[in-house]
């Protein structure tokens, strides 16, 4: 029922993200060399799409997400949201962090209210919206608890409803369920799917898990080992809710696992085997 109120917004074609030739490098403090995290990455994300970024460790998935969020600036190229370049973080792009990043000095209610207060809404509207999203993620009765009094799964629900409450068209999620136990993870995945279908947001989701990617996404973006670019984009053409034990699911699993394995081997290959094309030489 909740999504009806936002219907007008959802039917617009807002929420298109375009990454054009995005390049990002870091200075490795210990080695004194330049590490290229992303090298000329192009990626287009459609409005209302659920897109997953999948790849070997250190391939720059989180870096890309941080650039889209506006937390980091690319060294080259740019990211556009509905045609406008992204320069800084803002409430048009809600972020869910792996470590939740809840304000520990605020209770559940206050954490969810935070973004609404920053918007300067009237108190009655803040209370009503908060109540709605508290119940949407099943936290009714826990409003007065502080983050340290909640389990990991519940903390992530608070973090999710905090960004749902500010109603950003984009949802950026950085391995959001990596730190919760397997059972809770399944429940949270189902809830996220339900919420995504209700609210019609554009979701960019970073994960290590092939199953999670296939279960949730419209398209799975497999990234190359560092320096990260797009290796392949696999559209998942299965109806929701998806059955992780079905044959078609398994085919996707095989295909994507194969793609990642090739890239992971480059990361863990012994130094003698690594060729020039695998590693960028440090710049002078």
């Amino acid at each position: 029922m909740e999504h009806r109120a936002q219907g007008a917004l959802e039917r617009t074609n807002a929420g298109r993200i375009e990454c054009r030739a995005v390049r990002k490098s870091y200075q490795d403090a210990a080695e004194g060399t330049e590490v290229v995290a992303l090298d000329g990455l192009d990626l287009h994300i459609e409005p209302r799409e659920f897109l997953t970024l999948l790849g070997p460790s250190g391939c720059g998935k989180s870096t890309l997400l941080n650039i889209i969020a506006g937390f980091e600036k690319p060294d080259g190229g740019a990211v556009f949201l509905d045609g406008r370049p992204i320069t800084r973080p803002g409430p048009d792009r809600g972020v869910v962090f792996q470590d939740y990043a809840l304000f520990p000095w605020l209770n559940v209610q206050q954490n969810i209210e935070y973004g609404l207060r920053e918007k300067g809404l009237a108190t009655a509207e803040i209370k009503e919206t908060t109540r709605r999203f508290v119940s949407m993620v099943g936290l009714t009765g826990f409003e007065r608890r502080y983050p340290h009094e909640l389990s990991g799964g519940m903390r992530q629900r608070v973090a999710l409803s905090r960004v749902l409450a500010i109603n950003s068209q984009i949802l950026l999620m950085d391995e959001p369920f990596a730190a919760v136990d397997a059972q809770t993870r399944v429940i949270l995945q189902e809830e996220l799917q339900r919420i995504w279908m209700q609210t019609q947001k554009t979701v960019v989701f970073v994960t290590h898990s092939v199953d999670e990617a296939i279960y949730l996404s419209d398209r799975v973006t497999v990234m190359t080992a560092r320096p990260g670019t797009v290796k392949a984009i696999v559209p998942i053409d299965l109806p929701h809710p998806r059955d992780a034990t079905s044959d078609s699911f398994n085919q996707y699993r095989r295909e994507i696992t194969q793609l990642i394995a090739t890239e992971s081997r480059k990361v863990f290959a012994p130094a003698s085997v690594v060729t020039e094309s695998d590693v960028t030489a440090p710049l002078p």
Binding site: F71, R88, G90, P91, R93, G94, V95, A101, F103, Y146
Partner: protein, 292 residues
């Protein structure tokens, strides 16, 4: 809740399991017996002291009995004020003098120390401008400032209060700097993402995140304030507990010295407990090691 249950509830379904927990982790079931136990050693020591003095086991001129100290304290508090008895009836006035010196100095230190400390920890420009000054002046012991301050201010309130303020300032500023520096990066990012303007991050995120450190600094600061008020009153101003203590020393009144020590101890304890009470109220969200 979840953490607490993990230690006490879930792990201890049976009585036998409870015994294996270290004493400090067991739930407090002893009640009044526990309180009684806590007073046992202090009371025993007092009784021993009184008994050995009364039985002349040592020469009480060097260490007067608790009863003598109490008598002196009583006289100091409620005795007639005369021109000759320098201490009689001055206790309340001296307590007021010392406390107000500590409180004024501490208030100045708290306002400047918290503001500057948070800014040094958060803003690179402020850090570059002010941190070196703080770090270079800090190794000079506060007692080493006394001749200088007395020379500048004379034997007046200004000397006392500025020294107390300066002494309390250092632990406050250093702790607040650390507190601001350790603000988790993701909390700042989360606030920006939720629409907080970069200018307001300091108030919305850095200040609350630094609160546990701020209170540690304040508690250390007020403690140093009490240390310095005694030193300063012995050397640089008239009136106050330290002044009474120094005069008692010159008149060889050991009973009064002990009474003054006791007084200052109680005052220090009260201010520390007050700050602790306020911090527990404000920091209910901060589990620290207590709730683990």
């Amino acid at each position: 809740m979840a953490h607490g249950d993990a230690i006490t509830g879930e792990a201890a379904p049976a009585q036998s399991n409870r015994r294996r927990l270290p004493v400090r982790l067991r739930p407090g079931k002893l009640g009044w017996k526990r309180n009684l136990r806590r007073f046992l050693v202090p009371v025993a020591l007092l009784v021993l002291w009184q008994a050995s003095a009364s039985l002349n086991l040592y020469d009480p001129t060097f260490l007067p009995a608790p009863s003598t100290v109490l008598e002196a304290l009583w006289q100091w508090m409620f005795g007639q004020r005369t021109a000759f008895a320098w201490y009689s009836g001055t206790w309340f006035e001296y307590v007021y003098l010392s406390t107000s010196r500590v409180m004024i100095g501490f208030a100045i230190a708290a306002v400047i120390g918290v503001t500057l400390g948070i800014l040094i920890g958060w803003n690179e420009l402020v850090a570059d401008l002010f941190d070196p000054v703080v770090q270079w002046l800090r190794p000079i012991p506060m007692t080493a400032w006394i001749p200088f301050a007395t020379f500048i201010f004379g034997i007046r309130e200004g000397a006392a209060i500025s020294l107390i303020a300066m002494g309390a300032f250092y632990p406050i500023v250093v702790n607040c700097t650390t507190g601001a520096e350790q603000t988790p990066k993701n909390l700042v990012r989360a606030a920006l993402m939720l629409g907080t303007s970069p200018r307001k991050i300091l108030i919305r995120v850095v200040l609350p995140a630094a609160l546990p450190f701020i209170f540690t600094g304040l508690r250390l600061g007020v403690g140093i304030g009490w240390v310095l008020v005694i030193v300063v009153e012995m050397l640089a101003v008239k009136g106050g507990i330290g002044y009474a203590m120094w005069t008692a020393y010159q008149f060889v009144r050991i009973d009064l010295i002990i009474a003054a020590m006791f007084t200052i101890g109680v005052l220090g304890l009260v201010t520390d407990r007050l700050l602790l009470l306020i911090s527990r109220r404000l920091l209910r969200w901060n589990t620290g090691l207590r709730a683990r």
